[in-house]
Subunit: 326 residues, 2 copies
Amino acid sequence: MTVHSDPVAMTIPTFDDVIAAHERIMPHIHRTPVLTSSYLNALTGAELFFKCENFQKAGAFKVRGASNAVFGLSEDMLQRGVATHSSGNHALSLSYAAGRRGIPCTVVMPRTAPQAKKDAVRGYGGKIIECEPSTSSREATFAKVVAETGAEFVHPYNDPRVIAGQATCSRELLEQTDGLDAVIAPIGGGGMISGTCLTLSRLAPEMKIYAAEPDQADDAARSFRAGHIIADDAPVTVADGLKVPLKELTWHFVKSYVTDVLTASEDEIIEAMKITWKRMKIVMEPSCAVPLATILRNPEVFRGKRIGVIITGGNVDLDHLPWLKG
Amino acid sequence: MTVHSDPVAMTIPTFDDVIAAHERIMPHIHRTPVLTSSYLNALTGAELFFKCENFQKAGAFKVRGASNAVFGLSEDMLQRGVATHSSGNHALSLSYAAGRRGIPCTVVMPRTAPQAKKDAVRGYGGKIIECEPSTSSREATFAKVVAETGAEFVHPYNDPRVIAGQATCSRELLEQTDGLDAVIAPIGGGGMISGTCLTLSRLAPEMKIYAAEPDQADDAARSFRAGHIIADDAPVTVADGLKVPLKELTWHFVKSYVTDVLTASEDEIIEAMKITWKRMKIVMEPSCAVPLATILRNPEVFRGKRIGVIITGGNVDLDHLPWLKG
């Protein structure tokens, strides 16, 4: 159904890319467990199956896409390595994957990024080039890095290799569960949701796909309703992994396959995060609580259904928990 | 080897009791997972296998012993139910088990106990009778409860049914791992350690057994060296599950089978707790961090060895995390 004269359509990954990605990255990632909670089932009236990517290598699903890009590099690219701009899990994941392959990884990061994130990137062997906390400084600094190193740019989500890698997560989820009615995942730039769409549209086309995002960063919900990409200008939310906008590739998947984009308030997200920590005894990021928060806000959509919920990562600042603020 | 004229020896549980307990409680508990962490392996130089009872029903291993006592009750005892005094995980666990069997459970608890614990006991259907926060008040109140209800007293640890129940944990751990050199668990009253001794002395008598406790509540270590029970008077430690003293039954197992009792400082315990949350992405109690803290303090004992580490529970007050104090 894709139109191949469209340059975006040319780069849309296929399910064959997902199978190849899974085989390529399998030695470098965990097949993360699927957990259930009788308490949360009773609370929501649904049967929830949590795919726990907080237990993933480097602490997040993003290692799937980053590993697929790194281990798919041709031999002649290895010496120049990879580069990206990110102050989040993609930076850690790309550094981890590059370290496993023994190639250089350069990350452009605002000098104001948390020290813990910088330490983690360096801990995995990544090299950090600091920029000012502005888009113009980031773009200029990144262009300089690529010009100097010739490194391969691996975008955090708008990259077919990355989306094919993220798609391996819901492939595992389907194998680990005995039939689902829907899958729900947080949406920021849309890499995880796009991967979910890619896998489910092939393996379980009848299954519904929900994207969950904060009220205060609801650009995907507004894009979904408007029919074109709307980007927020510097949204403020506790779910700090979900601030970035959709791009062409991820928008293709969202507009083609997503059932609905649901949102939740900051308080609802923090409450869902705390209740998950308390009852499931797992450490996860605020972003991961957005799906549960939207399920609790829209019980009629999920009641009586079997729902896969993707817990995307566990890299939390334990010194600054959102329910202890103020 | 036990002397049957000794009244304590008469009540020492056997491995047959463990097998019976396991069959009895299996429908009511989780077979909890065993997790590993390449980071913590590198940090300690050992291979650590964490048996995650923080994911257990009611949030702690204590549900094993409590369920064994409750589901082993004879029919004529059911109407009168069970009773205990505890402000910790045993109270939750006994309430959970009694609720599953549909029998009354009365818990005597100091009126100063945290509201969250009271709510949790009531949430599982337990009835709370409050006493003053003193031993004399607790004993008088508890005697009155038993006189009025005729309920069966289930002690938190000095009870053969409870010890046989806790022993099922290391039986699973052995089944889930491919050979270990040692098992380490926290020691408070000694119920978990006694169960570990009971199972390992039969199934893997060559395996070492380490008990871990806080420097500030080191009554088990001092008892172990002195050769008789020494009870602390109101110890103060962040590891609040480990304040209670050994009793005859648990002392029998400690003196007969434990390799050594190791201790750690408050700072070491808090650091081990935080690093486990950060790297393993699991929520666990301060008490559960004591084994890792002692491993980090005594690396030469554990280096190059395969070590089972029992994570005993996950019922933490998320509003008061020990590294955020002060």
